[in-house]
Homo-oligomer: 165 residues x 2
DNA sequence: TGACAAGGCTAACAGTGTTAGCTACTCTGG
DNA sequence: CCAGAGTAGCTAACACTGTTAGCCTTGTCA
């Protein structure tokens, strides 16, 4: 495993276990037994580290959606499940503009494909559904719903609203 | 105008004009003609400054929704319009957990009321609609849709999906 | 007049990402 | 077999962040 890959793995552990503020260059370096400045022999900057986390995340996320049944309900379930299981990574993946030109070709499309397929290729509808799922998940991850809110019910309403009938 | 209010105004200008990374204690202090440490004579910390920005934002946002017609389409339009007009403030308002106990009583409910009313008080439905609108807006503000994406169409699909018929 | 609070200030601390510059090890070419 | 080059580590340092300590001046009020 290359040093860059080790750093990537360390960054991901720090992110997922302790949150984004723990993912500092010094702590990443510590985890792989070197000093922070030495990281720059293997990576141009921290943005590159985050970019690779995002790319890996998109890859895994796409795989999870592709593994789910080709129905709107199943896709929604898989979407939420993956997001909850990788809360901080999901947030990192979605909170900032995507530098598409620095991402592997077709990665984004591959993650979006399952949902688009379920909706018969209707892009506008796919964007509305994607955004709705993202909104529910993002607000849940940000702790924006009141304590006892029935989020299963909200997801059900969402899925029903977009279901073809 | 109190020093704290001056700081609040300066912080908001910096946030809205130059983005969150420009909203530093030193730049806020600069704008009102004092040094950063002196800010702490008027505010406990930066979190308090952000909290007040959020409170003001929620207040204004609620007013904008209340001023719009009591239809789903009009509420959606007002939601998006306010968010686009105050992009960075909206993001600040929604990206982190809401410290409800430090916010004016009823502020959150007052902002949520118009939408809830349009949906006849159905909380689950209101949460789904709110999240859908938030998702569309958040993704748009984060620059996550491709260049030529027809977002008006996506909003229309969303509004139609939740319309009572 | 003396006491006290309010509100400025500078200096400093710990933390962040990052750069400069030095050193040591390893590999390769003559 | 030795020279030179590249790789990858290191420390020191810079500019920035939020924040604290401690000092000093000003205004108010008994």
């Amino acid at each position: 495993m290359s040093r860059a890959d080790e750093a990537l793995r360390a960054a991901r552990e720090l992110l997922e276990q302790e949150g984004p503020e723990a993912m500092t260059m010094r702590r990443v370096a510590d985890r792989i037994g070197i000093r922070a400045p030495s990281l720059y022999k293997h990576l141009p900057d921290k943005a590159e580290l985050e970019l690779r986390l995002i790319a890996d995340g998109l890859e895994e996320f796409g795989r999870a959606l592709r593994a789910a049944d080709a129905t709107l309900a199943a896709q929604a379930r898989a979407y939420r499940a993956w997001g909850l299981a990788h809360a901080r990574l999901y947030t990192l993946m979605t909170e900032r503009p995507l530098p598409r030109d620095r991402l592997p070709e077709g990665l984004e499309a591959s993650a979006a494909a399952p949902l688009l397929a379920v909706l018969g290729g209707d892009q506008d509808r796919a964007r509305a559904v994607w955004a709705s799922a993202h909104g529910l998940l993002a607000l849940e991850l940000a702790g924006r719903f009141p304590e006892g809110a029935d989020l299963d019910a909200a997801w059900a309403v969402m899925a029903a609203a977009y279901a073809v009938d």
